[in-house]
Symmetry: C2
Subunit: 212 residues, 2 copies
Amino acid sequence: MCSAHSDLTAQAKIRDAAIAHFARDGFQKTNLRAVAATAGVSAGLVIHHFGSKEKLRSVCDDHVLGVLVRRSHEAGTADLLREFMSNPEEYHLHVRYMVRAIEEDTPAAGRLVDTLVAESESILRAGMAEGSIRPYSDVRALAVLTVLTSLATLTMAPPLTRALGFDGFGPEVLRRLALPTLELYTHGLYADDAPLKAARAALEASQEKRDE
Amino acid sequence: MCSAHSDLTAQAKIRDAAIAHFARDGFQKTNLRAVAATAGVSAGLVIHHFGSKEKLRSVCDDHVLGVLVRRSHEAGTADLLREFMSNPEEYHLHVRYMVRAIEEDTPAAGRLVDTLVAESESILRAGMAEGSIRPYSDVRALAVLTVLTSLATLTMAPPLTRALGFDGFGPEVLRRLALPTLELYTHGLYADDAPLKAARAALEASQEKRDE
DNA sequence: CAAAGGATTGAACACACGTTTAGCCTCCTA
DNA sequence: TAGGAGGCTAAACGTGTGTTCAATCCTTTG
């Protein structure tokens, strides 16, 4: 697709440049002159069109996260990983942008997370009703947990990817993690349920202590 | 313990103030004058003692992450979570600092992550040899996975904690997530191994495609 | 006690960067 | 064709902030 300057309006060029910069460097480190440069315009024009750096951010947020919310509605949260794995260069930018937005706790990011958790929860409930997923008492917490790990996998801080021998995040990293993840989701990690029982007992004990 | 000014040397006061600010606001957003103010000294003195903001950061990194590495050697990686759960106010600062450092991919953070992964891997191997942990083929990847989820749980972006009904990260959040996590680690998520088999087949297929 | 060396400070400097402003060019329109 | 509106630019402004500097205070030591 149109990778850069072409038939895009100046506003759109600025917005796309800003998205790229925000995703790569974060909001703080990005300066408007750099954004203007990649967009091929002057710094003043950015302000002229968007009013301020902060307003520019919120426009970018709505644009990127709106796309992601729409996509997750179509495909389901869990498939976000799969989709990303199949053609990473297309989604890499958006995923990085999303991670940054979540880290900085932006309003649009909050809406996206709510969507992902809700989506995930309904999928889990459906799977439990159908019998393909084991029953859990606290489905909400489980949903949060799965979204959390999915996002964490996509985030994958550089030191962790390095611990696997890769020096940058990419589909190879995901491929390396895919099988252990599935094994964990299928058989668990512990050989018996002693740790679980111990944890249950410990939680009940601390619960009683809090009640008295 | 000594919570602030007292018998500490000025250098230590500055360092502790910097750690607090870096943890709360991140490296970029904290300015030296604020650090100097909470340390009760002038801005110039910070430079006088540490040379530059960047050098100050590396000193703080070594201090905090050195403590964490030492503690993980004593207690084991997995217990970091438990320790944090028991007295959060003491570790909260250090954990937040660590997360920030990992996000910004600082050298000391890399060393910490390496330690955590190695520690985790040896624990997993020991558990497998002993029979308390199920055998996995790719133990290294499994270790990375467990560290990743542990860190992600400690990070717990605000939108995710809000999805659980809490409006700030704390021990209650961890308590809520503890049981589902243990259940996941004990029984897995899927009721049968169909998804695992499907993933294995898909990975092999894409592997062959890459080989030809 | 006097000299010295480090700790400490307040003011000044330098630079980066968001934003403002005045003006230019272009295109639409009456 | 004249006028105006808006896209667009270059330069300037102001501020926040890392850093430097000269001066002062304190402590130690010969």
